[in-house]
């Protein structure tokens, strides 16, 4: 559909921008809402995954005979029960997938590649029996030397995870088998000349740890394979259609035989796009001829799902003494985990792209090692790169004695400027966001002893991709809007708002539904900050078609031409020569649907281009206790361009939630490993995410620079908020303690060490 370029900025909205109570809210505050683990079927068996005790080993043989004899056990499965899907990237348009890697992540085949890698599963009448049976599975292992760090992966005689894996991507690539899966490089201008020209150069090495999305709901699923081979799956997922495809390829079932129902989902942040247990539940159900439910424990989530990469980075910026950036360069190494696919590419695309600079070389490598295979985590890769870039810009500001916001405004990209990955930016709001930050009261608040203020910026591209929506009118004039995007942050309320806006009715008269893969048209997953933009676009288009039908029905009733009927605020209004007919409400038209042509139902589907970047700037005030090393965030503000905030409460919620995750990443979160590659802190006690007493109120400012690609001006907002915090908190730490931290997290013991060593250990 074509979007009205200026509509977003000029239109007066009646419902968009209000804050109605979300339609699913009642069920969520009373415990009625059903999440993945809340489903059950009669005769259901409990499925349990059996996981590797080694970080790197070849599976020589698996003997399940003893396990099968445990009373209550109805099925035991291993690699032999799954089709052998070849490893290899299969492009699909401009994206693609490695079905073989996905299959092996779910169920190990030739090798186990991380501690906790599943190699078998058991379904039994009780969970206890299943676990006991799991312990009786006998495996002949050929234990291999694990590769547990980037240094080890890159060492000269490093054990190779995947024989035959050659480095892809930009030259020069190393010869032969390598743990370097991919190299990516964006270059422009002449960086040698650029750094020659620079009056000031700041550079640094930075390190970030592997961290987890930390969703409170563990993965869970219920699968039922019927006598005719058709199968139903219920699971919390960010994309039911994706689960359908993955189950089909990994379990070896025709996709048309699979129906996936997305349940309510307790957090995803990218980590619930891949599948980990669903295909196994299906195979167990098929073998046992009974429904099978699998739930991951919290420990399994940490060991066996998809965290994001740890990294080692080096970067430098060259600038003139007046503050103009003249050269930027990076070398990034990102952990992919067991199979290729870290977000190093997106990190390279985002890292210095908010700033104009003609001479650049942004280089990154995707490196496999014996850790869990990484999955997307909210703006994947971007927060990591921004930590390095924004820390260096802060150093530069100090060296040049410039206000850090002013320095950024001076170099900030605007419409028509080029991103480092090639295209020119369209309408963006980076400068507007910076200006709004500068004039915010937080920026002028007084700081006390041991307190410091840090500023950082960032952005995310925001995807388009495919979405479908169906709107139908009930005979009482209420409406239902159906889409296929699971609601992880309040999006269904936004769908109802957009539908209500077009219809001209109260949002309580519109019921939003999230459908399963049989009852809605195809929708790409909830992710990429795309739902309010792309699915919203489909909703608006479908509703506009409904409005055209309503006008036509009124025209029939009045016996006038269609173009003599306008739609105004929930009513058909006769105009021009027919004006004396007056107006007719949606309810009146709905009541007569049967007489004027039957039910009114319209669908629309879209595949729009990428929404266009949303920029954010964060300000963090940190107080550091020099005796304990404990930091407290005492003030935090998020300023971000949303294009158009459909439901401001949930836009604010995204800003605050992303900031909180970033603060945790900066101050406390990290995977801790033992010498054999086992995660030592696989639980919420020792993997310390922020709690209510760690944080202050998080102030938010919604800037609206309308996105011309969307009818209402919407930009995605979900991912940008996690990009600036690592830099903002690290910069605040620098100003509070005088020490520049190059390694995250800046946890109390590390802060104390650094204070004691005058920064030598940071």
């Amino acid at each position: 559909m074509s979007a009205d370029t200026n509509e977003g900025q000029e239109r007066k909205f009646k419902r968009i921008g209000t804050r109605p109570i979300r339609h699913d809210g009642l069920d969520k505050v009373t415990g009625r809402a059903r999440f993945g683990a809340d489903y059950a079927l009669p005769g259901m068996l409990h499925g349990v995954m059996v996981r590797s005790p080694y970080a790197h080993a070849r599976i020589l043989s698996i003997d399940i005979s003893q396990a099968e004899k445990v009373p209550g056990v109805r099925a035991v499965v291993t690699r032999d029960d799954f089709p052998d899907v070849p490893i290899g990237w299969i492009p699909a348009g401009s994206t693609g997938v490695d079905l073989g890697a996905n299959a092996r992540t779910v169920m190990a085949r030739e090798k186990v590649l991380f501690h906790g890698h599943a190699f078998a599963a058991v379904a039994a009448t009780t969970e206890l029996a299943a676990r006991e049976a799991g312990k009786l599975i006998k495996v002949e292992w050929e234990v291999l030397t694990p590769v547990l760090s980037l240094e080890q992966a890159l060492a000269k005689d490093a054990p190779i995870l995947h024989e035959g894996q050659e480095t892809k991507g930009d030259h020069p690539t190393p010869e032969g088998d390598s743990n370097i899966a991919n190299q990516v490089c964006f270059e422009g201008g002449d960086i040698a000349a650029g750094f020659e020209e620079a009056d000031v150069i700041v550079e640094g090495h930075f390190e970030t740890p592997m961290v987890h999305q930390g969703y409170i709901e563990p993965h869970a699923c219920l699968a039922n394979v019927r006598e005719d081979g058709t199968c139903e799956v219920w699971c919390p997922t960010q994309g039911a259609f994706g689960v359908k495809g993955e189950v089909a390829s990994i379990a070896g079932i025709e996709p048309s035989l699979v129906k996936v129902t997305p349940t309510e989902i307790g957090g995803g942040f990218g980590g619930k796009i891949p599948v980990y247990i669903e295909p196994v539940a299906v195979v167990l159900s098929r073998k046992a001829a009974r429904p099978v439910k699998i739930t991951m424990s919290r420990e399994e989530v940490f060991r066996g799902s998809g965290p994001t990469s740890g990294s080692r980075m080096w970067a430098r910026i060259g600038a003139k003494s007046d503050g103009t950036f003249v050269a930027v360069e990076t070398k990034f190494d990102f952990e992919a985990g067991a199979f290729r696919g870290s977000p190093v590419g997106a990190a390279c695309m985002t890292v210095f792209s908010p700033y104009n600079c003609e001479n650049f070389r942004i280089f990154g490598r995707d490196i496999v090692l014996n850790k869990p295979r990484v999955a997307a985590y909210r703006a994947p890769g971007a927060p990591i790169g921004a930590f390095a870039a924004e820390s260096l810009i802060d150093e530069l500001a100090m060296k040049l004695d410039r206000n850090p916001i002013d320095l950024r405004i001076q170099n900030a990209v605007a419409e028509g400027d080029r991103a480092k990955y090639g295209p020119r930016f369209g309408t963006i709001g980076f400068k507007e966001v910076l200006e709004a930050t500068r004039s915010h009261p937080h920026y002028k608040a007084e700081l006390g002893p041991n307190q410091g203020r840090g500023v950082a910026a960032g952005f995310w591209f925001n995807a388009g991709m495919q979405s479908s929506a169906t709107v139908s009118v009930n005979d009482d004039g209420s409406a239902v809007v159906r889409t296929g995007n699971p609601d992880i942050g309040g999006s269904r309320a936004s769908m109802a708002l957009m539908c209500a806006e077009e219809l001209g009715v109260d949002v309580a008269r519109v019921r939003p539904l999230v459908g399963d893969t049989d009852s809605v048209g195809y929708c790409d997953p909830t992710g990429g900050s795309r739902v309010t933009y792309a699915t919203g676009m489909a909703v608006i288009e479908a509703t506009r078609q409904v409005v055209d039908h309503l006008r036509a029905r009124a025209a029939t009733i009045w016996d006038i031409e269609l173009d003599a009927v306008e739609w105004q605020d929930g009513n058909a209004v006769a105009i021009n020569g027919s004006a004396e007919k007056g107006s007719m409400s949606l309810e009146d038209i709905a009541r007569k649907m049967r007489l004027t042509g039957g039910p009114i139902v319209s669908s629309a589907s879209v595949n729009p281009p990428a929404a266009g970047p949303g920029f954010g700037v964060h300000v963090c005030d940190l107080e550091v206790d020099p005796e304990t090393g404990v930091s407290k965030v005492i003030r935090y503000t998020v300023v971000q361009d949303a294009g158009k905030a459909i439901h401001p409460t949930y836009v604010e919620g995204q800003y605050q939630g992303g900031a909180a995750q970033g603060i945790g990443w900066a101050l406390n979160e990290e995977y801790l490993w033992d010498a054999e590659g086992k995660v030592e802190n696989a639980g919420f006690l020792d993997y310390r995410i922020p709690v209510a007493s760690d944080l202050p109120m998080i102030d938010t400012v919604i800037v609206e620079v309308a996105n011309p690609l969307h009818p209402y001006g919407v930009r995605g907002v979900g991912e940008t908020p996690i990009v600036p915090p690592l830099g903002a908190v690290a910069n605040a730490m620098r100003h509070a303690t005088g020490i520049r931290f190059h390694r995250l997290p800046m946890s109390p013991p590390r802060v104390l060490d650094a204070l004691d060593s005058d920064g030598a250990s940071s």
């Binding site: 109570i21 009373t30 307790g266 995803g268 639980g683 919420f684 922020p690 209510a692 944080l695 109120m697």
Partner: protein, 160 residues
């Protein structure tokens, strides 16, 4: 091994169930009793999603053995609303948008009700520390705390 028979009171109703010695109260609530409003986030008492009230005390039900419920009074999220009437805490959660995915919400509501029962006029800091045992990954806690403080005000007014 034979199952144990437990007689208890849940949300004001006399209830009995069978369980094994190692079942947690969370297991039994969510399993045989089909009361899935109480959520499992970790089973180690770290996340608060399984919060219930046992004999008037806020506890993580994953760390209570089902057998321990014998003869005691259990209150869960399903019993918080007064029939069709939401409590001030529930209503304020809705008005403030203090939930995004909603998985932590039952635990927070149980904990917040207990907080306000003990301390009808908490400061922001007191509310934050009391609720520090309930993890949320979506909201950053801002709207949750605002909802709780506003609920406190509404309750004080109702009682005034």
């Amino acid at each position: 091994m034979a199952k144990l028979r437990v007689e208890t009171t849940i949300n004001g109703e006399e209830t009995e169930f069978l369980c094994s010695g190692q079942d947690s109260l969370l297991d039994v609530l969510r399993g045989p009793l089909a009361m899935t409003g109480t959520k499992e986030g970790c089973t180690t008492g770290d996340c608060g999603a399984c919060s219930i009230v046992l004999d008037g005390r806020l506890v993580p039900s994953c760390l209570v053995l089902a057998a321990e419920a014998e003869g005691r009074v259990v209150e869960t999220i399903e019993g918080v609303a007064d029939g069709q009437k939401l409590t001030a805490v529930q209503q304020q959660f809705l008005e403030h948008g203090a939930l995004q995915c909603g998985i932590c919400t039952p635990g927070f509501i149980i904990a917040a009700e207990k907080l306000l029962e003990k301390n009808p006029d908490p400061t922001e800091e007191e509310a934050r520390y009391y609720l520090a045992g309930n993890l949320c990954r979506c909201t950053g806690y801002d709207k949750i705390i605002r909802a709780v403080l506003d609920a406190a005000a509404v309750r004080r007014e109702e009682r005034a």
